[in-house]
């Protein structure tokens, strides 16, 4: 495999948008193309992420329309990826694999989502469609419900009083809102405290409103190129050192929800390919769709032992200036979670961190960063390790 690098990156502000999925993707895509010092005609393929365009806008098969918005060459295959919340990361990984294999030299990858258009009841229903339809979403399972069950199982398995676990979970939300307060593209840019989290409306016991990421609109895109080509195009290419992807299947096969096996397998692949280990990672963008999800992630990615990661945010170890900075962008919690775009926004944040372009939320001296995106109810996990 050839070495592969990220050139330009682009993302819209995340939040509530009046723009269409295609308009948002065009904004992010043009920013990524211009940042790579190339033109749309130089793009050889589009790896396009979108989850729910059919429910949001009555639009299936959005990829060719996205290519048309950007004026990509008609010879460039434009293909839609869908892996629930991990959609864009999976698109980027496959883009990197095909560039690495020598099929293409320069491609565009990313995603877009306009989730707020659906409203909360329909959005809750359509997100739940990423759970197994016959046996799990059929029982009224929701996305928050899945992670709520994981939180109860975590408390039970490790013998932590639920009240104590909830305070540590709240600290994850407080930390990510603090990071988000420094991100002008974040959905929420205000700090909160533990009381805000613990006084929120109950969504799915024990998860309250501020344990949950919002429904958001937004798009993000990155240009991926053969490393030699990337060095010609931009001053600071950010190299893709390793990737991994694995699946979990239905919850009833996963059994122990405190152990995200798909993530354990995916991150192991990525570490092996990069020749790195968890201690080498300076900055992480990981999948904090719910506060408990960040706790599960820091454990299954190897930053903490199982059952020991629950108080990482409380101790400040994952906060800016901490041992391993987690979600400096604000994460899904504060930056927002337009599901089809999330992975590309995570890659964008890590690329900017490794280029030392992150302003007040810059992780000093960051050389190696890692992206972690989880799709559905632990159904897909995709990891990407990047280095400067």
């Amino acid at each position: 495999m050839r070495e592969v690098a990220v050139c330009g990156v682009g993302m819209t502000k995340f939040g509530i948008s009046e723009k269409t999925n295609l308009e948002m993707f065009a904004e992010a895509g043009i920013e990524a193309i211009e940042g790579s010092n190339i033109e749309p005609k130089d793009i050889e393929a589009l790896f396009f992420g979108n989850c729910l365009g059919d429910f949001e806008e009555g639009q299936l098969h959005m990829a060719p329309f996205a290519a048309a918005e950007l004026g990509l060459p008609r010879s460039a295959p434009a293909t839609r990826f869908e892996s629930a919340c991990a959609t864009a990361t999976v698109a980027i990984r496959h883009a990197a694999l095909l560039v690495g294999a020598g099929v293409y030299d320069v491609v565009l990858a990313g995603g877009t989502e306009r989730a707020t258009k659906m409203g909360t009841p329909l959005a809750t229903k359509t997100f739940a469609m990423a759970s197994q339809a016959q046996h799990e979403s059929a029982a009224g399972m929701t996305f928050p419900g899945v992670f709520a069950m994981a939180a109860h199982m975590y408390a039970s398995k490790y013998g932590i009083a639920l009240g104590e676990l909830k305070r540590h979970m709240a600290e994850v939300s407080v930390k990510n809102h603090y990071h988000g307060s420094m991100n002008p593209k974040a959905h929420f840019q205000k700090e909160i405290d533990v009381d805000t989290v613990l006084s929120g409306m109950m969504v799915a016991d024990p998860l309250q409103l501020f344990d949950c990421c919002p429904f958001s609109d937004g798009a993000a895109a990155v240009v991926i190129a053969d490393a030699a080509k990337a060095r010609e195009l931009v001053k600071k290419p950010i190299y893709i050192a390793g990737t991994g992807q694995a699946y979990g299947g239905p919850l009833y096969l996963q059994e122990d929800l405190t152990r995200v096996r798909a993530r354990e397998l995916a991150s192991k692949q990525a570490y092996r390919e990069a020749g790195l280990s968890p201690e080498d990672i300076d900055v992480v963008e990981l999948h904090d769709c719910f506060t408990i999800a960040e706790i599960l992630a820091v454990e299954s990615m190897g930053f903490y032992e199982f059952g020991k990661g629950f108080d990482a945010a409380t101790k400040g170890e994952t906060r800016l200036k901490g041992r391993v900075v987690v979600n400096p962008s604000g994460g899904l919690k504060a930056k927002g979670h337009p599901i089809g775009a999330t992975g590309a926004a995570q890659v964008t944040e890590i690329v900017e961190q490794l280029r030392e372009e992150s302003g007040p939320r810059q992780v000093e001296g960051a050389r190696v960063g890692m992206v972690d995106t989880l799709g559905g109810d632990f159904g897909t996990v995709c990891n990407i390790i990047l280095r400067s």
Binding site: P121, S137, A138, A139, M149, S156, M201, D205, P206, L251
Partner: protein, 133 residues
């Protein structure tokens, strides 16, 4: 290969109070709800078997914000069956507002109920229920 126990057959079983699964003739593992292969060894030498319908609660949540078409609150739980497999369904016969961590590890009996308006492919499909014994 013909699919051993289809979703339709599984649903018909539920209607009659039967919990139809698969037993692997290679490794002995029981798969429930049915899959195309054995959940442990991916083997295809499978025979039909019935669950006893007993298990223990491993985790739960009370859904307060429901998907469109459903009415909250209700309880979703994961149960480990005596035969080994985990299953997902609704905890019934209990006040959702009084359901807390004490429910974990409690023994339950399997049943089923028809759910309308969920996100699933069928308008009225049966899902598993759990009742304390």
């Amino acid at each position: 290969m013909e699919y051993r126990v289809t979703y339709q057959q599984y649903q018909q079983g539920l209607e009659q109070g039967e919990f139809v699964g698969l037993k692997c003739n290679e490794c002995g593992a029981v798969t429930f709800p049915p899959l195309g292969v054995c959940r442990k060894c991916s083997g295809t030498n499978l025979e039909q078997t019935q669950m006893s319908g007993m298990g223990i609660v491993k985790t739960f949540t009370v859904i307060r914000v429901p998907p469109e078409g459903m009415k909250a609150p209700y309880v979703v739980a994961m149960v480990k069956l005596d035969e080994g497999p985990y299953v997902t369904g609704n905890l019934v016969g209990i006040d959702p507002d009084k359901t807390d961590m004490d429910i974990i590890d409690k023994r339950v009996k399997l049943g089923s109920q028809v759910i309308d308006g969920n996100a699933g492919p069928e308008n009225k499909q049966r899902v598993l229920t759990f009742e304390l014994v």
